[in-house]
Symmetry: D2
Subunit: 285 residues, 4 copies
């Protein structure tokens, strides 16, 4: 699972066709790339093929030629691929409001190397979490929400994201509904954590909803943003057992751990290029 | 947890008031009953008190006098109580359709003594599971559904339940919506297993709903019947992790285990008198 | 995960070498076999390569030619492979003593098609479980243990196994230590369930050991038999949370579920050809 | 579960005798203390009784008189009790080496109020974690280990603990074996986290041991220190599922989460006075 230092990741997907696996594996062999992990899945209901390969490069590896050659080989299959270099660390922007448990957890995992990413900015509609970002030497942008000019605030948010060169945006308990325009811009590369086991308890105050319903488990869902509230493709889910003695504030406290773990898991999958979109579902290889 | 052979269970509930615990424990002491396990919970939001005690009787225990004395003592608190004798085995009626995994599991647990109940009848709208009931020497009632006379079928069902002296009805994947009349009759003493983590995926074909939504966990919910479909008070829930490679038929197969375990757990709690109704929620002591 | 009716399974392993993946996938492509799931793993510590492929056959598939061709192709890599036909159901012998929960569970899963195997014999050192086997129309062999002639009993056991044509032996709570000779004969194709999370609580009465140690979790381990007691390669493990109120008999009761689930999972993996031996460890693809 | 602001905790234990529950509950009633949660357990194997009560005080509550009265009442039963005031926050000393995940997690939970404790000192045999302690404004004591004078280092450690007024010491991955003398001093009020599911993989490098054994689950155990290495009474355990693709360094990474969660759970139980010693086991009410 942990990668050796010279290991690349290749991911690809295309419609289901005879020869898709061979197209990739034969090319890798011809390039003398050593495959260390290979996982492919052919979805017989959606008719799509997904593949993820980790390989060690030969000494004289030429990335440019590799990309060109694979593009040519995959053309007949309508194959789109991504190639991730051994030491690539994606730039990441994290958005938060006042709750800091997910931010604290993500920054900790970055710091000890468990998440191979570079958080380049923290954006918030509140000033509260600036000290935490600063202790990690990360710029903190406080863009308060003006109820009369939400588009203006979102323009500032988007500007920071774009100028940062971020490949991933994480909504780590950002408690604002994004406009459809911003959702569209972030479609497929922004991960949100919702504090319920979707599709149960969509919308506001899920732990209070859970209390009122008397459930015996609470959960969290990490999913990609799309333009339907709390409805984007699910990447990871987690649960905790609860009982009658948990008042709403206890559910909130208990839920923090599972929110952190579920979000960190989803971010890890994304960074390791394990997640593929398959209509409104995900394939995680 | 396992009870010694001379151990009674006393459960009671009433509005929250100073002295409720003392009323019960002092009475038990005066009767020289030896308390082995005691759990009480006072719900500060609903303002109700719940208590469950296991106690060993003195040699000269007089059940009649005990009941009379406790009723008198509890009167000032508006306390309702139930007293369960050491060797009491409640009579149970199980309702099924064609799927047999929950029935097989419940009968197995009865046979080895893990569930201290006597299944006195199995009722079905299909003939398929008769051999399984017969192998366990349990009468099997096949009442097919006549679409023009559903009330007639339900009358037969209710007659068997009533004549059997059942204290509990288990809907072990009975795939019919009960009429409001029957629901009302069974309110609080019938347990249903629904094959999703409620409130997610109510209604028909929850595993197909779960597949379409692309969830990463499927679950099961055991709850009391009331007159709102899949909305009765929840007793127990369970989950299983799934992934993209699980087609709907795989979710169905995977879900069987968690349905069995969740239903058996809820039935065990009910039989051991651990479950209290608290408005539309349950307290499980 | 569920296989379409014309789907074969191919598994292979060999030392780690450049070209192993390509050798398999190119051959499959040349044979016009359609790969639906492919998983390979190259263990950088043991230096071994493992691959499991599910594929749909072309209309004119020639198994004999396929085997011959692949053997030739894999020779240069020292590759051993197994090919499993779409409707292959391995013959299985189950060994038990008095506890019937695992046997009941396995036969149930066979009956509903969740485990694609044919149980051809049940062997026991006690007569108790004969009725259960008979209800499933499976021959039951009662070979009591003569303390003065254990080898004699084991000869009878082995004779039934060999004459049955079994490909798999399951020790479903067979409470006897096998002789080193019998262990050697069953090495790699007999699965045992041990009622603890190995390597904790080896040997006799693991639940009593667990009680005395005061653990907060009990577990079960399914592993291949080898000649070291409770030390064979682990296939699957499961756990349950327990607390101070569980006396040894409660741990035994609680453990039954996790024993059944863990054993069934391991048997399923074995039947679906997911398990590879990797020195004293397993790879499960 | 969350306590109202005027809620006290009363815990007591004594030999099993008729009247123990009544002795406590009657006294509370006479003092007009309102019981919100009550849990007692009578261990029929060890013959000991354990009780934990949360109660709201009356307006004119006199702690001194309460203690004196209860001591008198409990004398006949040989009852030892502890009374914990509503806003009591125990002083805590945390010991660490180089790994910071448990320390980071504990300090975070203290900061947001999830663990109601005051960490008054962090002690380490390495300087590495000083900045983390300082960010939380907690004194950091670096006492390097002199192999020729381990007793000298331990004297310094003990001096800080004693002068700090700590009620609890947490060994949050302190990678040194304590001397029997220090163990004796900390017996019953120091919690250690061991990174395996004890009794499996005692001693050094448990994740490497786990890898070599090929287990499918790794775990963590929080236990009280006593004078037998990794053998003190267990408070909490947690597990994570792993597979063949986890190399030792992956097990270490994966284990961090479960170590944090398990230790935080045990510390929470201790602070809420839920843990009782019962010979070499614990009762957690």
């Amino acid at each position: 699972m942990s990668r050796a230092p010279d290991t690349w990741i290749l991911t690809a997907d295309c419609p289901s066709l005879l020869g898709t696996v061979d197209a990739v594996t034969r090319f890798l062999y011809e390039q003398r790339c050593y495959v260390t992990e290979h996982h492919s899945f052919d979805d017989r209901l959606s008719g799509r093929f997904f593949i993820r390969v980790e390989f060690r490069q030969p000494e004289d590896f030429d990335e440019h030629a590799f990309r060109a050659g694979l593009a040519e080989r995959g053309e007949a299959f309508g194959m789109a691929f991504e190639l991730t270099a051994p030491n690539h660390r994606p730039k990441v922007v994290i958005m938060v409001s006042k709750a800091d448990h997910c931010l604290n957890d993500l920054l900790y995992r970055q710091r000890i190397g468990q998440l191979g990413m570079d958080v380049v900015a923290v954006i918030s509609n509140h000033p509260d979490l600036a000290p935490l970002a600063e202790w990690h030497h990360i710029p903190y942008y406080h863009f308060p929400l003006d109820p009369h000019d939400k588009p203006g605030q979102e323009r500032k948010v988007l500007q920071v994201i774009e100028e940062s060169g971020a490949e991933l945006v994480i909504l780590a308990r950002y408690m604002q509904v994004l406009s459809p325009e911003l959702c569209r811009r972030l479609d497929g590369w922004a991960i949100n954590i919702h504090h319920s086991l979707l599709p149960g308890f969509k919308g506001a105050k899920p732990y209070h909803q859970a209390y009122n319903k008397g459930v015996k488990m609470v959960g969290a869902t990490a999913h990609y943003i799309n333009n339907d509230l709390d409805e984007g493709p699910i990447i990871a889910q987690g649960v905790e057992v609860v009982d009658h003695s948990h008042y709403p504030e206890d559910l909130i406290a208990k839920g923090r751990d599972i929110e952190c773990l579920t979000l960190a898991r989803a971010v890890g999958y994304h960074i390791e290029r394990r997640v593929f979109l398959n209509a409104n579902r995900t394939v995680v290889l």
